[in-house]
């Protein structure tokens, strides 16, 4: 991984997370000369510390076509990347506890079905039989067989190696201090020397707006500081299916090694200036209580670690995919609210926009132009 910086490249990708590396994978696969530059070890921020949930049922209906394709993209990615990414597609439940939640669950399940998802309705004894580990307060659930998860721990190394096998380079511990336009593209001044390139893709997650200022543009991301917790390894009890909640702020799964990962996006504290992330203890307690109310068996496990990750999201919550207006050959690939699920599709769509000069239909409504109107 200790690759030195080359003097030039066709495409430089700033950020070695899920969006940057999947873009690099596609571009290197198309024979383009790609260099991914990360200011530290790649895959260390949101991509490496998220919960690994790959579901559609907990995603915004307004972006449903994007997410449907995202889950297909993940499956494809897990096949293309030969090394283990900890990908498992055993389906997932979306649960409801109160009558209002049940009504909302039913309504949204119908809408998701209309949009092309295969959603199964479960309640009563059928639900108990299918998921006896759900607590008695859960009165109904929907099940989607395409819901999946991947291991954020394993996926990073697997992707980096896949990029490198295709001829892409990943340069670590290198910071860009200054970017200037040249007649043929950009010259980036970095702590590892200068590099000339034709195109630049900004894929720096929550730091994308900081990186964008190097190019004189302002994209304005708000920060999600998502807390996560992991338990010790316990006997397998939920068949490696994921659980989300119609009320939001809930994701749960048990990895094959036995540890359960409890997420949902309860907010901690932190900022991108120092990169510090801290827990909000009150919020964490609410988070953990919520989890144990939905899946009481968790109370038999020990909490090993809680932490937080930074996610940068545009005001409208949607991903940013494509070229920046009035900045030739400058692209954004920011998953935003698309998160880890949307990451690989963001990477592929930005790569295809760059390769063809035209955004694919799914990327059109997600183009950065909307921020600059």
């Amino acid at each position: 991984m200790a690759t030195a910086l080359a003097a030039r490249a066709d495409i430089v990708i700033l950020g070695g997370g899920i969006a940057g590396l999947t873009a690099a994978l596609r571009l290197a696969g198309a024979g383009r000369e790609v260099v991914v530059i990360d200011r530290a070890e790649p895959w260390r921020e949101a991509s490496g510390v998220n919960a690994g949930t790959l579901g559609i049922q907990n995603k915004a209906l307004s972006l449903f076509p994007f997410f449907l394709e995202s889950t297909v993209e993940w499956r494809r990615l897990a096949e293309v990347v030969s090394e283990d990414m900890g990908y498992m597609q055993n389906g997932g439940f979306r649960v409801a506890q109160t009558p209002e939640q049940v009504a909302k669950l039913r309504d949204e399940a119908r809408q998701m079905s209309d949009l092309g998802a295969v959603i199964e309705w479960l309640d009563g004894n059928v639900l108990r039989d299918r998921a006896p580990w759900l607590g008695p307060s859960v009165t109904a659930a929907t099940f989607c067989a395409t819901d999946a998860f991947a291991s954020p721990l394993l996926a990073g190394r697997a992707l980096i190696r896949a990029v490198e096998r295709r001829g892409g380079r990943v340069v670590t511990h290198t910071t860009v201090s200054h970017a200037e336009r040249t007649t043929t593209g950009y010259r980036l001044h970095t702590t590892g020397g200068d590099i000339d390139c034709r195109s630049v893709i900004i894929a720096a997650g929550a730091w994308s707006d900081t990186v964008a200022t190097l190019f004189g543009i302002k994209i304005g991301l708000r920060l999600n500081i998502n807390m996560l917790s992991i338990t010790d390894r316990v006997a397998s009890f939920m068949d490696h299916q994921i659980v989300t909640h119609v009320g939001g702020r809930f994701t749960l799964k048990q990895f094959p090694n036995g540890s359960c990962i409890l997420g949902g996006g309860f907010q901690g504290r932190g900022n991108t200036q120092t990169g510090e992330k801290e827990l909000d203890f009150e919020q964490l307690l609410i988070n953990l209580r919520f989890q144990c109310a939905v899946v009481p068996a968790l109370k038999g496990a020990n909490l090993l670690r809680s932490w937080a990750g930074l996610q940068g999201v545009p005001d409208d919550g949607k991903p940013l995919i494509g070229s920046v207006p009035d900045q030739p050959n400058l692209y954004l690939a920011v998953p935003g609210g698309g998160g880890f699920t949307g990451g690989p599709l963001v990477g592929r769509l930005v790569a295809e926009t760059l390769l063809t000069g035209t955004p694919p239909p799914l990327a059109v409504p997600l183009a950065p132009a909307r921020l600059f109107q």
């Binding site: 006997a235 036995g258 068996a297 968790l298």
Partner: protein, 102 residues
């Protein structure tokens, strides 16, 4: 120290009857599970989930979790941090131990 036991000689107070893997075993008030097991000449607590290797009491201060075993059906109880109680059922933990009660 008497020859038959690793317990030091002396009046140990109230006797506490427990079972270890189904066999009756005597312990004394104030003893930890680890103390009672060692006194009975038994050093192991569990078999590991991945390699099925045998492990037991190692750090003695609650840090290493090597002495985790099944107590009254509950997995991952540290022998070194848990006092014996009358009627306690202690079992060697296999892998992750029994599934958690819902």
């Amino acid at each position: 120290m008497s020859n038959s036991s690793l317990r030091l000689d002396g009046d140990r107070g109230r006797r506490v009857d427990i079972t270890v893997d189904g066999m009756p075993c005597s312990a004394f008030e104030g003893e930890t599970i680890a103390g009672a097991l060692f006194a009975a000449g038994r050093a192991h607590s569990r078999h590991t989930p991945i390699r099925d290797a045998v492990r037991g009491y190692y750090c003695g201060m609650g840090v290493c979790w090597e002495c985790a075993l099944v107590v009254d059906g509950r997995p991952n109880v540290r022998a070194c941090m848990t006092l014996v109680q009358t009627g306690m059922r202690i079992e060697t933990q296999a892998g992750f131990g029994p599934p958690m009660a819902p």
